[in-house]
Structure formats: C-alpha cells, structure tokens
C-alpha cells in the first residue's frame, strides 16, 4: 500500500497544475479557514468541489486542489489544518531519475501555491534534488539561528547496503522531504525567509545566489566565541533538555522493538510458508480430504501475503518517521545549545562590563544590551517554537501510532476473511455430502 509517488520512476504523469488537488485542502471535510487576501474574499467555500481559478491573487486559487497521484495525505490535514492563516502551500512529489556522464541522481517536483506578495507569481513548479534541500536547510540554520529548523532525512547511505534508486528508498525519502518543506512553509518566521523563496521559485537554484540574498537577520551564532560558560540555565529550558533526552531514548527503544518485531515476523513468515506447503502436498495423497486440505493451504498462503504487506508497510512508513523524529530531537537540542551559548555570551560580556564599570565608570556598552536583547529574543522564539513542536509532535505520533494499529487491524481482517470463506466452502461440502448420503 504505497502512498504518494507513482511506482515508475521513468516517467511522471504529467498533469496540468490546475487539475492537481492540493493536499492541504481536504476532500472530505470543509476547511474551517477564512482567508484575507488583499480584500478579495471568496464566498461559498464548498465541500470538495473545485473552484474556478480567476485572478491570481484570489482566494479561489488558494483552494484549488493539488492532488497527489494517489490519495490525500491525511497526516497533512491533521497537522496543518488549524485556524491560522494559510497562504503558502508546498508539495514534493514526482521523483525522476537523471542520468548524466558524471553522476546519476533523483530530482523531485516542488510545487508551490501562494498568495503572498513576497512571491512574484501565485504558482511555481520547479525540480530540486536532495542537495538543494540540504542547501536550504543550511541557509535557514545560518540565517535563523534562534529557530528550530526541521531535519532532513539522512544524507548519506551506504552504497552497498541501500539501493539509492529503489522505489522504496526514493519514496521514503520523498515523503521526508515533503514533510520538511511543509514544516518550513508552516513556520511563521521561516516561511518568510528569502532562501525559501529562492528555493521554491528560482528556475535554476544557483547556490552561490545565497550569499547575495543573505540579509542580515541576525548575527550568526557560530561567530560567538566559545569561551563563555553558562551560569544558570532557566528551569524551563532545563526541563526541555531533559524531556528531549528521555524522549529520544524512548524513541530509540521503540525503534528497536519495531525492528525486532519485523525480524520475528520474518522468521514466522518463513515457517508459515513451509507449513502451508505441507497441506498442499498432503492433499495430493487424499481424495475426500483433498479440497479441504488445499483450502487450508490456500488460506495459509493468503495470511502470508497479508503479513508480508503489513511488514513492508511498517518498514516503509513507520520506521522512517520514527527515525526522522530522532533527528528532529537533535535539531531541537542544537537550538537549545545555541540558546545556552547566547546566554553565556551575554553573561560573560555583562560580567566584564560590570567589572569595567566599577573600575572606570564607563556606561554599559551597547553590545551588552544587544546581547541581552538577543537572549530575550532567542528565549521567546524558542518557547514559541517549542510549543509548536510539541503540538506537531502530538499530531505526528497520534497519526503514526494510529497507522500502526490500522495496519495490524487490516492484516487480521484479511486473514479472518480468508478463513471464513474456507469454512463456508467446507460446510457447504458437508451438507452436500449429507444430502447425497444414500449410498
């Protein structure tokens, strides 16, 4: 049960963008969103019906649906459907392989729909590769040091171990990239970053462009001298750190458990297949019992198939998300560390300034005040990000674990159906025999 990308990498289904439904607008439920876009309000947001595209900046274009090739991602619905204003929608899909003399790589289609004036056009469609996403992430980290940047999926894969061009790998990676971009687009500060703008709109992402576009949003915390020691971390940030440590640990445990289950299931599957063949071979030496025995063999086979599907799905959908969260936690920890550094710098400078003041009565230097501002800003940004992160985490895990439960339910339902039809078959035969028992 794959979600999202088409199976074939060779060609992508070329749909005009207006026909493609947007994942953020629900097919089933009406969006409880009101949009203020330059006064152009679209009345009558109906439930599931596509709206005509009129002027580029109208709300109607907002609710044009972009549809992923398969189904709408319910997770996105839950995650981002809130009462906040939505005026930037992004999607990553349609992986394609590019082969050149130098290298082979995958690109993804990045589609954007927006009413923001920071963008020249209401819609964009560009192709980006992993490198480009990484570039964006680095740029965001540099230019927004006080904010939590969502993580990217792992950059390097061991060439012998993982097939970088297998459907499963590409699909998993693509989903993670999509999630990354959506989180950035959802962020009230990050989404206005000019690097994001470039990433979404530039035809060719000239990565050297980044330097020209870099606005001095704030001093890069990287330049902070490492010598400062933090005195007293506020309790709430201590609590955050502790939480992250424990949470990360628990996720690691869950990952190990899930892997262990997959391993046990795989071994069970091997035995179960063998078990099924025993019934088939027995059937060959029986007359009356041939059909019942073959029926059992067939049921066992169906159960094997159902379990295979469930295992594959867990491997592809569950584990990667879990692992990505561990990366997310690391990102968050980094931000906490940066905050600590900022505070340490401030404290250090303040201490130095106080000493100087005592000596020669110089007024509080401006840098110290600037540092204090920086710390306060950072703390505020961090707290806001933390709340958002917590809220998203809750949704993400609700969805992840519900998905796991659904998969198991689905597997058992398939098995139950198979066995029930066998019983019907066997019992029909029984009544058949009974009525014909005149010999």
């Amino acid at each position: 049960m794959s979600v999202g990308a088409p199976k074939g990498l060779a060609s992508s289904g070329q749909k005009p963008i207006t026909e493609i439904l947007h994942p953020l607008s629900a097919a089933e439920e009406p969006l409880s969103v009101t949009v203020n876009v330059g006064g152009d309000k679209e009345a009558g947001l109906t439930n599931g019906t596509p709206v005509e595209t009129s002027s580029p900046a109208s709300a109607s274009s907002l609710f044009n649906r972009l549809q992923l090739d398969d189904d709408l991602e319910a997770d996105v619905r839950d995650l981002y459907a809130s009462t906040e204003t939505r005026d930037l929608f992004v999607t990553v899909d349609d992986p394609k392989k590019h082969v050149s003399t130098m290298e082979t790589y995958i690109t993804y289609r990045v589609s954007t729909k927006t009413t923001r004036i920071e963008f020249d056009l209401p819609e964009y469609c560009v192709r980006r590769r992993y490198q480009d996403f990484d570039w964006l992430r680095i740029k965001l980290e540099d230019s927004q040091p006080t904010h939590l940047i969502p993580p990217l999926p792992e950059k390097f894969v061991m060439k012998g171990v993982v097939d970088r061009f297998s459907e499963e790998f590409v699909e998993t990676r693509m989903k993670a990239l999509d999630k990354f971009l959506k989180r950035v687009a959802d962020h009230p500060v990050l989404s206005f970053n000019p690097h994001l703008n470039a990433f979404l709109s530039a035809k060719d992402l000239n990565k050297r462009q980044g330097l020209a576009l870099l606005t001095k949003v704030g001093e890069s915390v990287k330049h902070v001298a490492g010598g400062y020691k933090l005195r007293a971390r506020p309790a709430e940030f201590c609590a955050m750190g502790e939480y992250l440590d424990t949470f990360s640990q628990k996720l690691g445990t869950i990952d190990r458990i899930a892997q262990r289950i997959l391993k046990e299931q795989s071994e069970y599957l091997t035995e179960l297949r063998e078990y099924g063949t025993v019934y088939s071979s027995w059937a060959t030496s029986e007359e009356e019992l041939q059909r019942p025995l073959e029926g059992v063999a067939s049921c066992v086979k169906t159960c094997c198939g159902a379990l295979e599907d469930q295992s594959e799905s867990m491997s592809q959908d569950f584990l990667p998300v879990l692992r990505e969260y561990v990366l997310y936690i690391e990102s968050m920890k980094n931000v906490l560390r940066k905050r600590d550094q900022t505070q340490a710098e401030y404290e250090g400078r303040l201490e130095a300034a106080i000493l100087r003041k005592q000596e020669d009565r110089t007024p509080m230097p401006v840098e110290v005040e600037k540092c204090q501002d920086k710390v306060e800003c950072f703390n505020a940004d961090l707290k806001a990000d933390w709340e958002r992160w917590q809220s998203n985490k809750r949704q993400d895990f609700k969805q992840l674990l519900t998905g796991m439960a659904d998969r198991n339910i689905n597997h058992y339902e398939k098995c139950q159906a198979a066995w029930e039809s066998l019983i019907t078959l066997l019992q029909d035969k029984q009544t058949e025999d009974k009525t014909s028992e005149t010999n």
């Binding site: 424990t246 069970y268 035995e271 078990y275 025993v278 809750r394 519900t402 198991n408 139950q416 066995w419």
Partner: protein, 429 residues
Amino acid sequence: MAEDGKEESVATDDESDHTAADGTGSLNNTMVEEGSTLLRRMEICVAEAEKRSGKNAVNMQETFTVYLIETRPMDAVVEGRNPAPDALWRRYSEFELLRNYLIVTYPYIVVPPLPEKRAEFVWHKLSADNMDPDFVERRRVGLENFLLRVASHPVLSNDQILYHFLTEEHGWKEVVYETGFQAKADSRLRALSATFRVRNPDKRFMEMKHYSDELQSHTSQLLRARARVADRLYGVYKVHGNYGRVFSEWSAIEKEMGDGLQSAGHHMDAYAASIDDILEEEEHYADQMKEYLFYAEALRLVSEHEPMMIFSLLWQSSVQKHELTQFELEMASQDLISKKQQREELATGIVRTLKLLEELIAEGEETVKEKTLECEEHVEKAWVDMQRFKEQKDKDLREALINYAVMQISMCKKGIQVWGNAKECFLKM
C-alpha cells in the same frame, strides 16, 4: 468404589452435535448402527487423573499417574436415573497392554491408537514433562477417546478382555496374560517386522500400505511444521509486550499524550499475553492430528499382515495340490528368505510359521480347509475395517480442519479487538 460428583465428558448416542474437539462427536457419526456395540450399553469416561507412588519392577520408587475410568449402564442413563458410576483406576501401561492384546488378537482390525507416551512435537514453551498438568489432562482426554473408539467398534467392542478392563480392577492383568496372546505376538510381530514379497500380493493391501506411509509422513510433517510456526508466533506476540513497558515510561514525561499512551500500553500487554491461550487451544488440533499419525501406524500393521498372505497362499496351494511335501515347504521358505535382508529374524519367523503349518497339515485336511477359510475371512475383514477407517478418517479430519479454521478466526478477532482498543487510545492522545 463409586466416586460422586466427578466431572464427566461423555459422548453418548444422544449428543450428536458435539464438536470434534476430542473426536467424540465424529465418533457418533461413524459408529456402526447395526449390532450393539459396548458403547450403546454402557457409558464410559475417563474422569480424572491422579499421581501415585509405588515400587516398580526393579523395586525402585517411582511416581506415576493413574486414570479413573467410570462406567454406568446406558439404560439407567436413558431412563433418567442417575446411579453412581462404577469406577476403577488404571495406569497408562495397562492401556498399552490392552491395546497390544487387541492388535494381536484382531490383526485384521485397525486398532485405535493411544495418546502419545511422551510429549513430542513440542514447541519451546510447552512442557515436555510427562508430569506437567496440561500434558496429563490432554492425555486423559486421549485415553477416554481411545476407550470410546474401541467400545464403539463393531468388532472390538465385543471383546471380553476389554469388558474386564473396564470393570475388573484387580486380576485383569493375569487374565490377559492367560490368553497367551504374547506368544502369538512374538512370532507374528517378528514376521511382521520384515516385509517380504509374496508372489501375488494383494494389490489393495499394497495400496493401503502405501497410503499408510503417506498418511504417517504427512501428519508428522504437519505436526513438526506447526510446532515451528507456534514457536515463531509466540515470539512475535511476546515482543509486543515491550511496547507496553516503553509506552508506560514514555507517558510519564508527557502531559496531554500521557493517558492515551499509558492505556495503549496496557492493551499491548494484553496482546502479548493472549498468545498463551491461543496456542494452548491449538494443542487440541495437534492432538487430533497426532491421533491420525498413530492411526497410520495401526493401518500399516493391518496392511502388512503378510503372514496371513503366506498362510492363505500356502494353504491354498496345499488344498489345491492336496499335499505339500516337506521338500516343497523347505523350498518355499528358502525362496522367501533369499529375498530378504534380515535373514535371521525372518528365518526364525518363517520357520516358526512353517512349523505351525507342518503341525496343521498333520492334523488333516479338514483343519487345512478351516484355516484357509479363516485366512480368507481375515483378509476380507481387514478390507472392511480399512474401509470403515477411511470413512472415519475423512470425517474426523475434515471436522478437525474446520475447527482449526474456527480457531484461526477467533485469533484474528482477538487481534482486531486489541488493536482496535489500542487505536482508540492513540486517538485520544
């Protein structure tokens, strides 16, 4: 020695809707209606099992299990009277003695098997210990099943030794030995242990032997594979218990998500625990398969009843020729011996058989005719019983397969329920 208020699991003629968990339901269906089998006259059950201690043959202390056999006259039951049953205790070895007696005395009958002596095809968690209460309980059911099958068999049920087994606690063993069946057993069993080619083997018996081999092979493969599957499935379920623990630990650091996680964790624990009952129930299915694994052996014995073949052939030729010289006898025996590997055993067996032949020839032609007829009857009786067995087997195993499917469905439903509950908890996170 009547014991009151015991739990009885009895198959009577009236309970035709029993599921074949222990084969009793199908028993009623395959019972022969003509003639009155013992089961029609008497209600039989193996009510209990108890541990005893005593000295064994080499005067050493040992612990063993005895089983309580209860019987009641059927007419009393039918009339609604409820007299206290007659009861006596028997141990497994006595059941074995009874069965061996039946095998030797009725070589043309597929004698129902006993439950296994030692636990085999065990998956790791299940105990291989004979004293394990679950094993003892399953054995009790198996022994009862054996008695019910024997007592409902058109031929076996009339046996006096069987009747005494059920009614006379003391002195039964002596009575059995007095029949001298063991003497018959020795020569017969040795001769049976070698398969030798007769010039015109009965094709039907060859086919039956071949089928019995197939049945034995397939049932044992099935049992082995099932045990391995059970082992693995156990592992899958139990690992899920770890989710219970980690969700609980995780819930401690969460605010809104805490309750949902904690509850979900409990359901994961329940899921992990559920496999024990599931696999315990599956043991009944394994027992049904085991019965037919052992039945295959009994079938093989009947189909291999070659001495009868030799008997009948030699007798036939003696009747036809009206005389059988010593020389021809010896030539015949040489002929057979030269074709076989285990010459010693075979020689002894054949020689004994032929000695018997000699004696009988000496007794005169009437005896010759009599014996020939008897042998031919045996062959026909064997064929009839093998057919009876075939029908019983088809019926029983079909029911067993249906029950297996029912068990699988039950397992699926439990799984759906647990995961559904867990999902509810996740949604509340």
